[in-house]
């Protein structure tokens, strides 16, 4: 935001930061070998729903996007609307590399069609052999960084201790959000 925008109060929604999404595909190896966490075979891209005026145009664009992605990648892609009114693309693929590539593709397509500022986060669930519940890595498109998210399953509680452990373990490999006050969760994602 330039000085002029500050002076005139013209705050724009931020465009996504430089793409650092692919770091998760290498981090996956550490997650598996050191923490026994395996990818859950799915990932989600969350973006803000649109105002009614744009709805018809958006609806067409998104359908086109879905078709484009389906023809370009072998992953299965579904669309959901969650209870908070946010839109999700849920990708299912057994191969983690393909999963990340498809998520990247969706994010790119959304940006190309002018939905960049509405792009919120990508969500990568992991499952442990010895633990119940999932461990998530959230990629914030606006921040261009990852942060861990471990919901305990009851209400909106999360296991902060484990999250900090995940941060410590993967600090070297992932661009992790250093400002902990921005580690917002994504509860009850439709994955």
């Amino acid at each position: 935001m330039g000085l002029r925008d500050v002076l005139f109060g013209r705050k724009k929604l931020k465009d996504p930061a430089r793409e650092r999404l692919f770091a998760i595909s290498t981090a996956r190896i550490t997650l598996e070998s050191e923490l026994d966490l395996k990818p859950a075979g799915a990932a989600g891209v969350c973006f803000k729903s649109l105002s009614a005026g744009e709805f018809v145009r958006a609806e067409n664009e998104l359908q086109q996007l879905l078709d484009a992605v389906a023809s370009e990648s072998g992953s299965k892609v579904e669309r959901h609307t969650d209870e908070m009114g946010f839109e999700w693309f849920v990708v299912r693929d057994g191969d983690f590399e393909d999963l990340v590539t498809t998520v990247h593709l969706i994010a790119n397509e959304l940006q190309d069609r002018g939905f960049g500022p509405q792009l919120l986060a990508a969500l990568f669930p992991f499952e442990g052999k010895f633990k119940e519940g999932r461990v998530y890595w959230i990629y914030g498109f606006k921040r261009g960084a990852f942060w861990p998210f471990v919901p305990t399953g009851t209400d909106q509680e999360r296991d902060n201790a484990e999250e900090l452990e995940l941060k410590a373990k993967l600090e070297q490999e992932l661009p992790i959000e250093q400002d902990l006050t921005r580690w917002f969760g994504l509860f009850n994602a439709p994955l």
Binding site: D82, L180, T181, W183, L186
Partner: protein, 292 residues
Amino acid sequence: MILTSGLLGLLYVAFGLVLLQFVGVGLVPMLLIIVALAFFQYYTSDKLALAAAGAKVVSREEAPQLHDMVERLCAMADLPKPKVAIMDTPVPNAFATGRSPKHAAVCVTTGLWERLEPKEVEGVLAHELSHIANRDVLVMTVASFFAMLAALLTRFGLYAGMFGGFGGGNRDSNNNSVPIWLIVIVVSFVTYILSWVLIRTISRYREYSADRGSALITGAPEYLMSALQKISSQITLIPQRDLREVEGMNAFFIIPARVKEGVNELFMDHPPLEKRLAALERIAREMGRPVS
């Protein structure tokens, strides 16, 4: 923090020099200005601090539990009840302000209230009430007043030494005025830094006293200990809210979310956590309380 304070000091010195050199204010008016500033700071400290932090004074209806807690502790500490304020930030913190126990306020953040157990909040509140009981605002105002005075007098001393008098009209032969300016600035700045270190030392000592006070008021230092550990751990920084709830909300905040960095600085004049915990542990042992 060190840089900020240093810069503030530099600004203060520059301000004094400008007043002295160009406006031609004499020693006595200068002293009056300083005294007036100190008094202003002292008399408005409760409102000033609350306003600066963006805290809101809450009535009994708005926060009955908090009011109950403060009342209980005040009864224990034999203090008049201060104003109770809440600051809406997820960072757990608390502070007390006010020139005397009768004109005091305690403030807790919503983060502190949500993250800590009631017993722990009580420990923190008792710590803040001890600050009020110990009249720490008065002590710190006096301490910083002398620091300001020291810096000012150094400058005047040098000034007088160079030009032989406090008056104006000394602009006749100043081919070497640049080095003198330099010396004046350096000496004043060093004086200021020294007083600043002294103030911090006093401030730290007052913190230990307030910790001890809290232990005596609640009779249970272990809760203050666990509160301190919780407050200083990283965990309390992680938000509990959902990304979708907060998305786009920053645009509507009057004060940007960055303010919370300033809140963290309230802790900067405090002794290191380990030392405070060790001191509290000793007190706990003296009182025969369980120490984990």
